[in-house]
Each structure stands twice: as structure tokens, then as C-alpha cells.
Amino acid sequence: MTKQPERIFIKGNEAIARGALAAQCKCFFGYPITPQNDIPEFLSKAMIDAGGDFVQAESEVAAANMVLGAGAAGIRAMTSSSSPGISLKQEAISYMAGSEIPAVVVNMTRGGPGLGDIGPAQGDYYQSTRGGGHGDYRLFVLAPGTVQEGYDMTIQAFDIAFRYRTPVMILGDAILGQMKEPIVPWTPENVDPEPGAAWCMNGKTPDREKRLIKSLFLEEGALAGQNKKLMAKYKAWQDLVEYEAFETEDADLIVCAFGSIGRIAKSTVRSLRAAGHKVGLFRPKTLFPFPSAPLLEMAKQGKRFLTIEHNLGQMVDDVRLAIRTVADSDFFPVLPGNLPTPDEFEEPILNCLEGK
């Protein structure tokens, strides 16, 4: 990587947009929705300046299908939205998963269900990690917890999308999108200038077979074969799990939290540690694949678990699945409409630590 010398002070949304440019994303298709509008606003100029293209689509549905078309043509393309808009994009996401079309989809989540509110929440965890659209598929889901990670993970998302021919989701939230932090931008080396050239549609020449990108498999056994291929792909992703383990080594209690809540919980853990409490933080950076193995290791050491999420309890299912043979996890919900402070997590953590 080429480190650029200066630090820049930017919003999480802008970091994601800049990360896409650094990853040589050439097409952005979007539709306005709060709290992610900084991304299309920034890219409406920057993407054109970088020699790519930008379209404000007529709907989230259309934007995601434009990404499908550009991805099928082997070009790095991205769309971004927030919770209700992501529901509309699910049609194209399912088709992209079935057709093995690479793309990056950003979800800066807000409160739901329905129109909900425009404040932060993590209610889309199930939708992101269980497919979201129709059919049997998974998304690769990255969950940044800092503005720098928003930048880094966007670059990483394009690499994974093209390496595995799959849509990749970046699951942020309104906190991350709207807060400003200094980051160190960098530019990846060796980005394939003609990504996916061996499979994508770019015009059939006489020396090769035509290329067909589709998710319809009618012949007997064909869909089973395709889904088996997808299953193998998802299994291979297990090698790509990422997580942050903070003060976990000698901890009696592990707090499991992701994204912005993970970052806030880290502050709580830090202050409780200073007060002599043996607590640690486990923050998954990949939500699918979920880092189950390291959690199980911790469970086998006899640690207890508390999952904190900005929802009614979703990731806690994955935590429980990971440790189910030896332990369980308590759960503390953060309800939408609030930006929690580290202090608010102290009581539930101490209660759990004391086995209350």
C-alpha cells in the first residue's frame, strides 16, 4: 500500500466514498436517503472527476440494478443506501448473488422497522447476514467501527467482491456515517484495471465463447450445482473472518458488540478495566462470515458473555450459535432513538459480571 502523508478529517460517509475512489470504483448509482446522502453527494462530482460515471437513479431498485449491469460488465461499481432503501435493493442483491456478479453495497443503517427514524440503529443485522432477498445465499458483510475502518473496508470490499464474484455489504450506521475523525488515506496497489476480464461481458470476439451472466438454471440438476458452488464459496470465506479482541485474555466477561456500539462498548471496557474489573471486548469486523471459532475458544476457557446491540437482539443469535456447546450469552438491547454513552453500558456489564 502507498501511505499518503497527510491525515484528513472527514465524516464516515465521506471516508467510504473516498475508499471507493481509492479502490478504483468506476460507477456509482444511488438514490437519496438519510443518513447516507454524503456518499452520493460526494461521488456525484468526484466519480466523474476520476473518469467514472455517476447516476442518481429513479429508485433504489433501479440503482441496485444499474450496479448489477455494471458489475456484469466487469466494472467496479457501488451503491449506498440506508435501511428502507436497502430493502428495495434486495431484489438486485439476490440476483447478483445468484448470477455471481461482484458489487459493493453500503448500508448506513437507521431505526426501523418501516420508516422508523433517521437515528442510528443496528436492526438490519438479520437482513444483512441471512441473505435479505429471496433464495439461498449469503452476503459478505463488513462492519466498520471507525471512520478509518470505513475507508479501509471499502477498499477491502471491492477486492473480495471481485475475488469471489459476489456482492459485498458494508454495514455501518448513522453514528459512523455522520461522525468526523481523522484518517490516513491510502491507495491500494495492484488493483486489476480490467477486473474479472475472464468472465465478464465485454463483447464477444470470434476467438472465445459468448459469456452469459444469469441466475436462471432450469435444466435438471443445474440449480443444485450452482447452489453447491455458492455454498463452497461461502465456506471458503471462513478464512477471511476478522475481529477485534480487546483485553480479552484474562477477562472473566466478554462483551460482544459490533460497529459503532462495539466502539462505544470499548470505552466502557477500558474504564471498567481501569477500575479493576476483568472485562474484555469482542468486536466482529466480518459479520458474515461470523468469527465463531475464536469465540468458542474463549467460551472453552470458561468466560461469560454479554452481547450488546442497537436492536432487540440479532447478533446475539450468532454469538450463541458459536458458543452453544459450552456457554450462553446474556443480552442488553439499546433501543433506537438514542445515542448511547459508555456510562450506560457499565451497569449491565457489571450486573452480568456479578452473575445477576
Binding site: A62, L68, G69, A72, A77
Partner: protein
């Protein structure tokens, strides 16, 4: 007759793959496919062509044309084609859609791709019925026409009037060419090919969005013989969906 006495006057374009189609007897998709194939060769576009197919009987166009292709979700072909064209502006991009696909679920996508003046062509096959799903009412189903979801016949008070897509699209600023042809007679087929050529030229000349509606038969779902289906196009469809060029920005003077 000996071989010496035969003279080949009509051959298959190479880009049209030599295989039997899945279409019903009397269906006009095969004719539309052939016209497209002939033009891709005549206009030397084969190597550059990227095809977007949608849902319904016509999704399988990708099995019959020897070009790169992608399958769009139901109604979304103009959005997918927008993405393809923006990603690869030097390629020739066209979408192929039926009436249920384009005029119902895909209404937003066709209107906005056309209005943006996307440098793509859309071939719109209108047979006034949902074919593959078994003959349900389409937005283009004629008043009085019986389908499985309007068994007493489409009624204006209950279902509204059949939508005239070419007329609507011709009013949009981004459209460079919009015409309605028909595939029910040799004369009309020849004219339809001229329309398709103009629509394709809109893209190769960078003029804007090219659109051709093709009135077509669905004898199976109309419960008619192929001959009677052709007659229905002439007597019932053309009077409501008049043929001709509705917009032409390809040259001064307009009409082909």
C-alpha cells in the same frame, strides 16, 4: 429437384445460433430475434454487443444470439442496461422486453432510462398478454380481450385503458427515436426492421435512447391459430396501436 437447380436466397445470420427455439408455433419472437440478428451483422455490431434480457418467454433470447448477455430482474432491463452502458460506453447495448415486463412492473425503469436519454436501444415486444405465466392480463391487453385474470374481457371501468408505450415515450426529451412496427405481415416486418435500424443508429451515433415496439402474436394464449392471430393484429391491435414513427431525431425530416 436437383441441387444444381436450387438457389439459396435466404440464410440464417451467423449471430443467430442454429438451434430450435422454445417458442410456440406462430409466435413472433423468432421473427424479432432474426431481425435483430440481421441488423447486428449488417451494422457490424456483433463483437461490441452486450445484450440485456428480462423476464418471460423472451428471457431466452440469450440462448439464440451469439453475443455476451446478462439477465435482468423482472422489469429492470433498462436500469441494468443503463449500468452496462455507463460501465462500457464503447459497447452496443440493447434490452429486449415483453409488455408485462416493460409496461407494468418496469414502468419506472423504462420511463427514466428513456428520459435520461441513455445511449441504449430497447426492443419492446407487445403481444397484449403475459405469455410465459399462462395468459394473464397485461397493461396492453385490449378492451374486451379475455385473459385468465379478466375472464369476462378487459373492461375500461375496471381495468383502465391499454397503455400506449410508444406514444408516451415519444414525449420524453431523452428519446431520439420511437416507433411502432408489427410482425404480422412481410410488409410490416420489413418496415419494422427499418425502425430497428434507426433505433440502433441512435446509439451508434450517440443521439440518445432508441425504442421500437413490435406488435406480435401469442397464438397459444390468444387461443387462436397462427393465421387467425396475424389477422387479429391487423384488425384489432393496429387500429388501437397505430404503426409508424412517433419520434425521429436521427436525421432532418423525421420519418423513415
Amino acid at each position: 429437384m436437383s441441387e444444381m437447380q436450387e438457389k439459396l436466397v435466404f440464410d440464417r445470420p451467423e449471430v443467430v445460433i442454429d438451434r430450435p427455439t422454445h417458442y410456440c408455433p406462430g409466435c413472433h419472437h423468432g421473427v424479432a430475434h432474426r431481425l435483430v440478428g440481421e441488423l447486428l451483422e449488417e451494422m457490424e455490431l456483433v463483437d461490441r454487443t452486450l445484450l440485456v434480457t428480462s423476464i418471460g418467454c423472451s428471457v431466452f433470447l440469450y440462448n439464440y444470439l451469439n453475443v455476451d448477455a446478462v439477465e435482468a430482474p423482472h422489469g429492470r432491463a433498462p436500469a441494468v442496461a443503463t449500468g452496462v452502458k455507463r460501465a462500457r460506453p464503447d459497447n452496443f447495448v440493447f434490452a429486449y422486453q415483453g409488455d408485462g415486463d416493460l409496461a407494468s412492473i418496469g414502468m419506472a425503469e423504462i420511463m427514466h432510462a428513456a428520459n435520461r436519454g441513455e445511449r441504449i436501444a430497447v426492443v419492446f415486444v407487445n403481444n397484449t398478454v403475459y405469455g410465459m405465466t399462462g395468459g394473464q392480463m397485461a397493461p396492453t391487453t385490449l378492451i374486451g380481450q379475455k385473459t385468465t385474470t379478466c375472464p369476462a374481457g378487459r373492461c375500461r371501468e375496471h381495468e383502465g385503458m391499454p397503455i400506449k408505450m410508444t406514444e408516451i415515450l415519444s414525449t420524453l426529451g431523452g428519446v431520439a427515436f420511437a416507433a411502432r412496427g408489427s410482425l404480422n405481415s412481410v410488409k410490416n416486418i420489413r418496415k419494422a426492421k427499418k425502425y430497428l435500424r434507426k433505433a440502433f443508429e441512435c446509439q451508434t451515433k450517440g443521439l440518445g435512447f432508441g425504442f421500437v415496439e413490435l406488435l406480435s402474436a401469442c397464438p397459444t394464449n390468444w387461443k387462436m391459430t397462427p393465421v387467425a392471430a396475424n389477422e387479429r393484429i391487423e384488425k384489432e391491435m393496429i387500429p388501437y396501436f397505430p404503426l409508424g414513427v412517433y419520434k425521429d431525431a436521427t436525421e432532418e425530416g423525421g420519418a423513415c
